[in-house]
């Protein structure tokens, strides 16, 4: 005799879950009662949105499925942004929500909302469990769907009576999931792989364009083998940072709207574009017709719907990036090694490096991120909020490994960073976890300071505080005649706020203090807040205006 709540908790343990992030409420009381003496660790956040972002950060840092739990109605609705965020970035999470009892479903009952309906377009799949006998199987399927193929969020909505209903006969849950309508293609088509190998061998100016799929599939080693065997330069998307070390000689840097000159010029002039686990997002391609205009395109992706969605592809390969790269690499070992574009790339890389010079007599965000990077020497996990802080972190931190970089790419969710950093820190307790924040974004989930204190989660928040919604201000400066409409946010005493929650902090106004302040935060055993009062109107450069070709970059004033 087991209740639904007990089946749920046991199933989570069976799936290997060690921690869930949640917030209790009326319709999840039976589940919380079951958690009371369960081995599962539960982190009580201060807002449901933080629970789903934390589950997301946990998943990205660990490569495992993240789990969050919320009550019906407002609790479930507060998960929506985080579910959409996980969907856009293909992050495996299972979101569990309570629901009003089945007898009240559809009655506009207290705290009822149709959460499976609301999240239909932003989940990989969802379940409304009507029968307790199905629950065990549903949980097993949900984890399988979330964590295989193109990963993504799965929602399980459980009415309160289903949580208290009892199964008298144990229901067998088969270990191997078999879903007729869900059979992701893992192995690439051999003939396509053969063709890819010969196209790559014949190309004069090939470029690899690597996205988040490389990180998700854990295929960075195969990627490096491909690049190094034939000396093919690599550019990564925002989601792909860490797939190749920042300092690797073949790394051109990030491409797209705030990409490097070397990456964007190389894309424009390449004759073969090898897109790997990437989806030709508008922030990457700029004007589509001018994106890799002279190139043949090979596109490797696990999701067939991404092939040809935005850009016409000459050679599609549907499959797991790791499997496909391995097969391609097998065929390449005999081929001749090509020269890396006869010195043109190194010239562009030199230009890119030149534009990275910044004035160290001012408190610039670039200097702060670079200093952090130098201190950490390639270690740590960098989580970001969204906006200028995110782009400076992407541009100026030197990454050494995959899953070291956690950012809201597709949805661009302000307020993501801090709770995601909590999740990352729980997943990787031995890593230093930094949330590079803006003063706007941090205030969207600032209440989580209470959570990091309660559980002593040693996340370091570095606020690049310009008292503006900086990225919007930058667009207003460049494209709206400096009409700063509602983007100014007067100074907040972040150190005082942190202190009130019980978190120590330092406010930094002088560039000479940057290094010491960062050192102090890192040596402190626990959470810490650094409030850097940066140059207020510093811009993220280079920049490709929306809709322009990616080689038409604004390079900005060189400091």
């Amino acid at each position: 005799m087991k209740t639904g709540a007990k089946i749920l908790v046991e199933s989570l343990v069976h799936e290997g879950v060690d921690t869930i992030f949640g917030y209790p409420g009326g319709t999840v009381l039976p589940i919380y009662d079951e958690l009371y003496d369960s081995s599962l660790r539960h982190i009580l956040v201060r807002h449901e949105q933080a629970a789903v972002h934390a589950a997301d950060g946990y998943a990205r840092a660990s490569g495992r499925v993240g789990v969050c739990l919320a009550t019906s109605g407002p609790g479930a609705c507060n998960l929506v942004t985080g579910i959409a965020n996980a969907y856009m970035d293909s992050v495996p999470i299972v979101a569990i929500t309570g629901q009003v009892p089945t007898t009240l479903l559809g009655n506009d009952a207290f705290q009822e909302s149709d959460i499976t309906g609301i999240t239909l377009p932003i989940t990989k799949h969802s379940y409304l469990v009507n029968n307790v006998a199905e629950l065990g199987n549903v949980v097993h399927e949900a984890f399988y769907i979330a964590g295989t193929g193109r990963m993504g969020p799965v929602l399980i909505d459980i009415p309160k009576d289903v949580q208290t209903d009892v199964v008298t006969e144990p229901v067998a849950v088969p270990e191997k999931v078999s879903i007729r309508g869900y059979q992701p293609t893992v192995r690439g088509h051999p003939r396509q792989i053969e063709k890819a190998a010969s196209m790559i061998a014949e190309a004069q100016r090939p470029v690899i364009y690597a996205g988040g799929g490389v990180i998700a599939s854990g295929s960075d080693a195969e990627l490096m083998r491909l690049a190094e065997t034939l000396m093919i330069p690599v550019t990564t998307t925002l989601m792909g940072l860490g797939a190749i070390p920042s300092h690797h000689p073949l790394n051109l840097g990030m491409l797209g709207m705030h990409g490097t000159q070397s990456a964007n010029y190389a894309i424009t002039e390449c004759d073969l574009l090898i897109a790997i686990g990437a989806r030709f997002d508008d922030r990457v391609t700029g004007k589509l017709e001018s994106f890799a205009p002279n190139a043949q395109v090979i596109h490797i992706d696990i999701d067939p719907a991404e092939i040809g969605k935005n850009k016409a592809v000459d050679l599609p390969i549907v499959g797991d990036v790791g499997h496909v790269l391995k097969e391609i690499n097998k065929k390449l070992t005999e081929q001749k090694v090509q020269g890396p574009w006869n010195g043109r790339l190194s010239e562009w890389k030199r230009q890119s490096a030149e534009s990275e010079v910044f004035d160290t007599s001012l408190l610039t965000p670039q200097y702060i991120v670079r200093t952090l990077s130098d201190i950490l020497k390639g270690a740590g996990i960098i989580v970001t909020e969204v906006g200028q802080n995110q782009m400076w972190a992407a541009q100026y931190f030197s990454f050494t490994r995959p899953r070291q970089w956690i950012t809201s790419g597709g949805l661009g969710t302000m307020g993501y960073g801090f709770p995601a950093a909590i999740g990352a820190s729980i997943a990787c307790p031995d890593e230093t976890v930094i949330d590079i924040a803006g003063d706007g974004s941090f205030q969207m989930n600032i209440q989580e300071l209470a959570t990091v204190v309660q559980y002593d989660i040693p996340v370091k928040v570095m606020i690049l505080n310009n008292q503006y919604l900086g990225m919007v201000r930058q667009w207003q400066e460049l494209f709206y005649e400096k009409r700063y409409s509602y983007t100014e946010m007067p100074s907040v005493d972040f150190v005082g706020i942190a202190k009130a929650y019980g978190v120590p902090g330092i406010c930094v106004t002088d560039p000479a203090d940057v290094s010491d302040a960062i050192q102090e935060s890192l040596s402190h055993d626990g959470p810490f807040v650094l409030d850097f009062r940066i140059e207020r109107e510093e811009n993220v450069m280079p920049m490709v205006p929306a809709g322009a070709a990616i080689n038409e970059m604004i390079l900005g004033d060189k400091r």
């Binding site: 499976t116 239909l120 377009p121 990989k124 007729r180 309508g181």
Partner: protein, 167 residues
């Protein structure tokens, strides 16, 4: 752009229709008609959707539909030899007398059946392809159509081939 007839085999689960219909709306695909019902396999339904779009958009429609977990099989049968039918019920203003006689004559020409007769109207049932129904409807307009209901197109490939094989 041309109408494409897409046959979708789905698991008969709660919400499957909203998933399919929602996907069309969300991705900006234009549905001309949608017909749903159970089919030869227990627990399954077949949806016939008519979508007006270019071939490359249809390719994207098919791929996106295939991503839905409850979708078993998607076939664009537009270019396959197939039969297609639609049913319409038309309530036409037709007082007894000359008008009614004309309406009944038209019905006869289109092999439509009169399934209800009132004092001031008749209800016609017509089965056929979309073009035939459009033609009858346009001819009936001169008498005054009080109400019109169409099922949307259902379709099936000719010969022994089926669209229910595994995805």
């Amino acid at each position: 752009m041309r109408p494409h007839t897409i046959s979708v085999l789905v698991e008969n689960r709660p919400g499957v229709l909203s998933r399919v219909a929602g996907l069309f709306t969300r991705r900006g695909f234009n549905i001309e008609s949608l017909a749903v019902g159970t089919c030869e396999e227990p627990g399954m339904s077949r949806i016939t959707a008519v979508v007006i779009a270019d071939d490359d958009i249809i390719e994207q429609v098919k791929k996106q539909l295939n991503k839905l977990i409850n979708v078993i099989k998607v076939s664009d049968i537009t270019y396959t030899d197939h039969v297609a039918r639609e049913i319409a019920l038309v309530k036409v203003a037709a007082e007894a007398g000359q008008t009614r006689a004309e309406v009944m004559q038209l019905a006869d020409n289109f092999r439509a059946r009169i399934i209800d007769v009132g004092t001031r109207s008749v209800v016609l049932e017509v089965t056929g392809d979309t073009g035939k129904i459009d033609a009858l409807v346009s001819l009936l307009q001169q008498y005054g159509i009080k109400e019109l209901v169409r099922t949307g197109k259902i379709a099936m490939t000719r010969g022994s081939k089926t669209v229910s094989s595994k995805k």
